[in-house]
């Protein structure tokens, strides 16, 4: 990673972590989700022996949902602010006047927004495993360490984060109001988690095949949004076309 990219990412984080919305996203929200996820697992543990197994599956599936939501929500505010914040402060032109290349600018913004979401979701998954091992039986802990879960956490989550970031940046580049860009981006990125949510309500545990299929589709969509967003992150486009 070159020094300009590192400098841009550092600046993005310095700015983002002074933003209340971002701070909430990276501290309180994961804690709330961790609480919900642990509660779901406790519910699954507390089910009476005569309860149908489907109830337990649904609870476990919904637990996973929280860890897919984190890389969706956390990068959203960082990505939106990374674009609208520059516009509001009129800081884009001085930034573009530096030797930073268009690709470095794009990559720096995307990575700075996506990395916290992914790292925090992984961190809280680790915490969740710790909490789960204290609260529930080993067989339930093993359920959340199964391949579908691991694929969801370590592959689908980063892909979801990249989707969120690129879509938010595409939307934010066309808007000047941070709040409006945030709201519109929130709606635009939701479809990516709907399949997981719907299948999670089915009467079976989420399968490896389903997660892999979802990851494959998101990867393809990511490719498209990355190409579109990268085209948008060109000096000329930014100065002449961005609103």
């Amino acid at each position: 990673m070159n020094y300009r990219l590192r400098a841009l990412m550092k600046k993005e984080w310095q700015e983002a972590f002074k933003n209340k919305m971002v701070l909430f996203g990276i501290t309180l929200l994961p804690l709330i989700f961790l609480g919900f996820a642990a509660f779901m697992l406790l519910q699954a543990k507390g089910l009476p022996p005569e309860a149908p197994p489907e109830t337990k599956f649904i609870l476990i599936n919904q637990t996973m949902f929280y860890f897919i939501l984190l890389p969706l929500i956390i990068p959203l505010s960082i990505a939106v602010y990374a674009v609208t914040g520059e516009k509001e402060q009129k800081s884009l032109e001085p930034l573009l006047a530096t030797p930073l290349t268009d690709l470095e600018l794009f990559a720096g913004k995307v990575l700075a927004a996506a990395i916290p979401g992914v790292v925090i979701s992984w961190l809280f998954f680790g915490l969740f495993l710790g909490v789960a091992s204290l609260l529930v039986t080993p067989d339930l802990v093993l359920t959340v360490l199964a391949p579908p879960w691991l694929l969801a956490i370590f592959l689908l989550s980063p892909l979801v984060a990249i989707f969120t970031v690129t879509v938010s940046m595409l939307i934010s580049s066309r808007m000047s109001d941070t709040r409006a860009a945030y709201q519109l981006s929130s709606f635009a990125v939701l479809p990516v988690v709907i399949p997981i949510f719907i299948f999670g309500l089915k009467e079976a545990l989420l399968s490896l095949g389903l997660i892999a299929l979802e990851a494959g589709i998101v990867a393809l969509v990511d490719l498209g949004t990355v190409i579109l967003a990268a085209k948008l992150f060109q000096r000329e486009q930014i100065l002449v076309r961005w609103k």
Partner: protein, 304 residues
């Protein structure tokens, strides 16, 4: 240091800058004057390799625009009209970020140098969002200088500042120009600022209307004029003076004669002598001064 040939930029049907031919010498402070929408900012954006020209060519600090844009961005500094700082970051963090982007080696020392130079060292850790507009503009100026650029583009550096803040910024630019011998390309609306700071001035309104020193611009437009106030001005005296071969222009205004002369230093005594011979009673002889504002307004009108 800056050479442009036929530099043109169009935005769809709108011609922002047309056929700009310009040469700015190293160490020169070049003022770029023009009304709103005249193409000043577009020119700066092209020369700083931010947007591409539609046609024409330019060389900035020895690098060819279009082919060596990255190099150009490394050696120029740009101060935009609004400070464009990161309001949540401190003055130090703002400057340090840009020093990193430019790959400045002794970063801490360089940031400290400019913060001290602009009397901001004691406030280095405050978020710049809390600074007054004048202070923000000072930080922005330091940001444009942090990598010691060979060419500095200043786009309306004092616009929107109160007179005190504007003076601070202007004094600093003057200091830079005098002591550091940097090439400065200054876009401004402020004519007295241009007159005070610039070695030469270019007037633009899509096309370059005129280039010259402030004195040359005034002289070229109005010639060199002398005003002679007489006790009374009979028509015969006026006609006689108008017949003198070296008088290029003559205008009477009450008891005043306004003469356009090529060499007023040697021709004024001859005129005064002739007036006395004709019985005229000379009360005052004055050099007629024109402000840059008059020159600007007339030239811009002429360019329409």
């Amino acid at each position: 240091m800056i050479i442009t040939e036929g530099l043109t930029r169009k935005f769809k049907d709108l011609v922002a800058v047309e056929g700009l031919d310009l040469e700015v010498e190293e160490g020169e402070v070049f003022g770029f004057l023009g009304p709103n929408g005249a193409g000043k900012t577009t020119t700066v954006r092209m020369l700083a390799a931010l947007i591409a020209p539609t046609s024409g060519r330019a060389v900035v600090a020895g690098y060819q625009l279009g082919k060596e844009n990255q190099k150009i961005r490394e050696v120029v500094g740009v101060l935009t009209e609004s400070p464009g700082l990161y309001g949540r970051l401190s003055a130090y963090q703002n400057l340090e970020f840009f020093a990193r982007l430019y790959g400045v080696r002794a970063r801490a020392g360089q940031v400290e140098k400019y913060l001290r130079m602009l009397d901001l060292w004691d406030r280095r850790d405050e978020p710049v969002g809390r600074f007054s507009k004048g202070l923000q503009q000072k930080v922005a100026l330091a940001r444009a200088l942090i990598h010691e650029p060979r060419v500095l583009f200043l786009d309306e550096p004092t616009a929107g500042l109160d007179p005190e803040a504007a003076k601070l910024v202007r004094d600093f630019i003057e200091e830079l120009a005098k002591e550091e011998r940097r090439t400065i390309f200054l876009c401004t609306h402020n004519l007295s600022e241009a007159e005070r700071l610039c070695d030469r001035i270019g007037l633009i309104k899509q096309r370059l209307i005129k280039v010259g020193t402030p004195e040359e611009l005034k002289g070229e437009l109005y010639g060199r004029r002398t005003v002679i106030q007489l006790k009374s001005l009979p028509p015969a005296v006026e006609a006689e003076i108008g017949r003198l071969p070296f008088v290029e222009g003559l205008q009477a205004d009450g008891n005043k004669l306004i003469l356009t002369l090529a060499q007023p230093e040697s021709q004024n005594p001859l005129i005064v002598r002739r007036l006395v011979e004709l019985g005229g009673e000379v009360q005052w002889v004055q050099k007629m001064e024109h402000t840059l504002e008059e020159v600007y307004l007339d030239l811009v009108k002429e360019g329409e």
